[in-house]
Symmetry: C2
Subunit: 218 residues, 2 copies
C-alpha cells in the first residue's frame, strides 16, 4: 500500500463486549488489513462500558492522523445509544457508511456517498463478477436493516433494478419473492427462505450468518 | 400562530426563473402562509442568475432570525448545481427535507428526520385521513425522484408497507403495479398508469401535475 499511494492507511476498530460473531468479524478484518498492507488499530471495551467511554475512543481516533477509517462493530450493548455513537464518527472516516449523511446520499439520485456499507456493496460486486444483469430486473431484498437490507435495496435501485423490500410485516412474502430475478436475503432467522420461494433461474445471495445445529454431530 | 406559540413563524421562498407551475406552487404556499399566520418572505431571481446569487439569497435567510424555514423552488435552471444549492440551506431551516442528512434519517430505522418532504408526507396524511390501512399492505411507488418518489417509498416502508419502486427502467410495470393495494404515482408523464394496471379496490394517489390538452375546448 505504501508503495502504491505513499502512505500506510490505518483502520481502527472499536469492539464493545464479547459477542462471538462480532469478535470473528473483527479478527477477519484485521487479517484482511494485514494482507492488504493496512495498519490495524483496535480498542476493546467491556460489555459494561459507558457510552462516554466509547465516544472517547471514537474521538481519539477522529483526531489521530494515522487513522483513516473507523469501524464501530455493531450491535452495541443495549444500554448504549447507537445513533449518538455512530454520529460521533467523523464523516471523512465513516468507512462503514453508516452516517445518515452517507445513507442520504445513497438514497438520492445524483448524489454520491463518501462511503457505501461494505456488505451490500459486496453483494453488488458479487453480481457484477458473475455477470448477473441488474438493470431492469426484479429484485427482492429480504430485511430492512440500516446495515444491509436498506442500503442493499438502494444500491440495487441505483443499478436500475425494480426493487421490493420484504420484511417482518410483509404478508405472504413468498409470493413477491417468487417474482424476483435477484434475491438478497439479510435476516437474522435461519432457513426462512424456502426453495419454493425462489423462481427457477433466480440468483440469490444469503447475507445472514446464523449458527445452525448440526444434526449429524454427536 | 403568534397567540399559539408566542412567535410569528417566517417562511422564505426562493424562486429562480419563471416556470409557470413553479410560480403557481409559490403563490399557493404564500396564500397558505397567510391563512395560517405565517410571515412570507420571497426572493425572485431571473432565469439567467448565477449560482452565487442564489447562494447569497440562501445565506441571507440562513442568518435571518425571523426566517424559520427556507424553500428553494425546484427545478432550478439547468446551469445551476442543485446539490450545492440545497446543501447550503441550514439543516434547521430545511423545511423541504431535501438535505441528504434528512433523507438519510428518513431511510434509516430508529432515526427521525428533522423535516419530511411535504408532498409524500401529504400522501401519507391522505391515506391516514381516509382510514386506509398501510401496515402489511403491498404498495407501489411509480417514480424515484428525490422530491416525491424516493421519500414516499421510505415513508410507506416506515409505516410497514411492503414497498416496490417502479421507474423508467422497469420492465412490465403494469404487472407489479397490479399487485398493489396502494399506488402512489409521481411521474412527469400524463396518462401513464392505465385502468388495467390497477387492482379493483386499490387506492391510488396521483401526485403528477401535467398540463393536458382539453379536447372539448374551442
Amino acid at each position: 500500500m505504501k508503495d502504491a499511494i505513499g502512505v500506510v492507511p490505518g483502520l481502527a476498530v472499536i469492539l464493545v463486549g464479547d459477542k462471538k460473531d462480532s469478535a470473528t468479524y473483527v479478527r477477519n478484518k484485521k487479517k484482511a488489513c494485514e494482507s492488504a498492507g493496512i495498519n490495524s488499530f483496535e480498542v476493546r471495551l467491556p460489555e459494561e462500558s459507558t457510552e462516554q467511554e466509547v465516544l472517547n475512543a471514537i474521538s481519539a481516533f477522529n483526531d489521530d492522523a494515522s487513522v483513516h477509517g473507523i469501524l464501530v462493530q455493531l450491535p452495541l450493548p443495549s444500554h448504549m445509544n447507537e445513533q449518538n455513537i455512530l454520529n460521533a464518527v467523523t464523516i471523512e472516516k465513516d468507512v462503514d457508511g453508516f452516517h445518515p449523511l452517507n445513507s442520504g446520499r445513497l438514497a438520492m439520485r445524483g448524489r454520491e456517498p463518501l462511503f457505501v456499507p461494505c456488505t451490500p456493496k459486496g453483494c453488488i460486486e458479487l453480481l457484477h463478477r458473475y455477470g448477473v444483469e441488474i438493470k431492469g430486473k426484479r429484485a427482492v431484498v429480504i430485511g430492512r436493516s440500516n446495515i444491509v437490507g436498506m442500503p442493499a435495496a438502494l444500491l440495487l435501485q441505483r443499478e436500475d433494478a425494480t426493487v421490493s423490500v420484504v420484511h417482518s410485516r410483509t404478508k405472504n412474502p413468498e409470493e413477491i419473492t417468487r417474482q424476483a430475478d435477484i434475491i438478497i436475503s439479510a435476516v437474522g432467522q435461519p432457513n426462512m427462505v424456502k426453495g419454493s420461494w425462489i423462481k427457477p433461474g433466480a440468483v440469490i445471495i444469503d447475507v445472514g450468518i446464523n449458527p445452525v445445529e448440526d444434526e449429524t454431530s454427536p
